[in-house]
Subunit: 456 residues, 2 copies
Amino acid sequence: MDITEALRERIAPDQVITDPAVLESYRRDQAAWADSALPAAVVRARSTDDIVATVQVCLEHDAPVVARGAGTGLSGGANAVPGCVVLAMEQLNQVLEIDPLERLAVVQPGVVNDDLRAAVAQQGLWYPPDPASAPWSTIGGNVATNAGGLCCVKYGVTREYVLGLQLVNGAGELVRVGRRTAKGVAGLDLTALMVGSEGTLGIITEITLKLMPARPPERTVAGFFDRLTDAGEAIAGVARSGVIPSVLELVDSYCLKVVDDWKNMGLSADANYILLANTDAPGAAGDAEAKTLIAAFEQAGATWAGQAESQEEADALFAARRLAYPALERLGPVLTEDVCVPKGNVPAMLARVEQIAEENDVVIATIAHAGDGNLHPCMVTSYDDDSEMEQRCKTAFHQIIDAALELGGTVTGEHGVGLLKMPGLATEVGEPVLQMYRAVKAGLDPKGIFNPGKVF
Amino acid sequence: MDITEALRERIAPDQVITDPAVLESYRRDQAAWADSALPAAVVRARSTDDIVATVQVCLEHDAPVVARGAGTGLSGGANAVPGCVVLAMEQLNQVLEIDPLERLAVVQPGVVNDDLRAAVAQQGLWYPPDPASAPWSTIGGNVATNAGGLCCVKYGVTREYVLGLQLVNGAGELVRVGRRTAKGVAGLDLTALMVGSEGTLGIITEITLKLMPARPPERTVAGFFDRLTDAGEAIAGVARSGVIPSVLELVDSYCLKVVDDWKNMGLSADANYILLANTDAPGAAGDAEAKTLIAAFEQAGATWAGQAESQEEADALFAARRLAYPALERLGPVLTEDVCVPKGNVPAMLARVEQIAEENDVVIATIAHAGDGNLHPCMVTSYDDDSEMEQRCKTAFHQIIDAALELGGTVTGEHGVGLLKMPGLATEVGEPVLQMYRAVKAGLDPKGIFNPGKVF
């Protein structure tokens, strides 16, 4: 019996897809340049039992299993590998429980981030992690990649909000790890180990998340800068001020220019670099924090700095940030980097990126979670078939990684290793730590079926 | 060559202790009832090289190695096992680096928690985790047990502050895991896996910690309650209010009484249960939060609720909390429980504890991190040799664990599993998860030298 037949014996046949056209749509995530293969089958799971059955069949057939949420990943983590079964989680999209007293939610892995945020908001609660993909990406994918976002500078990344997991392990058993209580240190922290493991250690079937109370409205301040060094000094000044902004983003001159070319906003005439910061401190404390942020921008040499006086004005200021990526995509496919460096090295890293762009004759526009030191240099390629340009972009991609490591940084701040960052990870952590990863993997996935060939 | 000779070949002989009287002092931590053995030797490490050498010698001799900070643990995690080498970290007490811009510190494992807090405070920074043992316990021990404390209700436990580690792994190699950047998701999160693993996966040699900016002074409010159910309702009311207090502690009637018997403070005449809460919100927001907390106490039926008008008054209110443990120790050795239940189940759990005390004819006084649902029922035994009472206390200890699990809780909120909670952990997580722990352990510690026989 082949694997498809075996799957159809345990899962409703219409959920086991083998139509090549449909398989093609599950081939890869948003990392266009990473390798991918047509899966042997796609299982559209509708229940935890479907996931258990899929893993057990894959164990019996020594077949790889690749879990997939919305496919918005940027590193190839959800790309299909030869002979694999893709476990598609979109239909497992139920928020199973929201408990306002314990401030937790229990969700299926296919719940879309924004849908969860909307559901908990109705009960006066807030789920902080806010990746740019929040309107589409799923909590399961967010957990698998330990997704970040804008508010992480103050509120941390997905890991900080995962209390417990239900998962199918390498023995095909359905188990629970973690807890529902506010604190708990019983046993090894397999929950944290699973977060960010990109599907290599097991398949997550249910997630228990910590929530926060709804927070006060944010105030927005902005600073315009002529020089990169001044913007860098402003970031350092914010860190020294003792204020932790709830957002601190940097948009570079290239982003401003492409947004202007598209929307005629006149931003690039005003500034070469824009810093955008929010504070969500309550009442007068929020006013004071906004003033502190403006003062830090001005002391660093901002040509203009001020506070948005309305939500509309704040939205207009953030437009450059929000529109940068779609504006770049108008020009060609975008390859997004995700390095993270110590905050103090953001200006040095940005200078290196500009130099790498020039040396390789490629277009690199940078958006940065500046308060975290997490930079997204975006390489813009061409919709025309231009393999020479693609090669130059790949060279630049690897040079950016090398530069980040030289500056004390990491190859991925929030997108994950997937396929694209595997060489960078090996350089970053070194062979003895890779051996430790492999030992953990061999222990938890002895047959090696979970997303093989990814991460390490 | 025996192991002591081998150690003395690589480590200064005066650091390798075999004097039985000194060995005896390294036999166990504060868990008097847990098994312990005289170590074969104690190594007082003065450098990272000493730790590497010790692990390598232990690997060569198949000898267990037990790392030990200040020995303030309450679960027997640092208790010596037969034939082991105890690696004493007290002398590795240097704060190696404090970086105000990146808001991180790099420390040796033997740095005392309060010493670190004092050092970073001089630079306007704050290290939140504040276990009651902070004046004595070391950061290495705090990391090994994932220690909590009072402010964790708002600021989380030790894990949230560990960015990276240097450690000696099961191959005797010195490696770095984690990062120095604000964000980073490269590879498996071995840092989080090491935190709370109680020395079973490797020996930590250096710790990189995330710091916070110094915070505004706290305001203290208190509520007095006649009835346990009212105090429980007040805890729920605080959760519903959307305020996250920076401290929310409960002291029960037995604690109030023993403090009164000792210090004549008259507390037990005023209340059967006291709730103590702090807020560290800035300025007017702090005033508003204090008012909200008082209102929550009053609505739940507090016989009195109010805000301390000075630091002296706040200190007086907290005296009952601070003095409870030493007051209990005047009566006899104290066995401290550490269960954690969902916040909503705190009253039910406290009622169960009172019932268990009565049924077993033992004295149980409870201090609780009420805002976390983390309870410390303290069993008071006798300085006289009273094996029958000891047996009753042990019965009560296990009944409390069973009750916590029945109420959806965990066997340990912040003290760790060590030896005392091993049966409870097995019940809590079940055999398939224990197998996953063993698989991880076998992968990372193939010779099984790291703190064998502990946790799982």
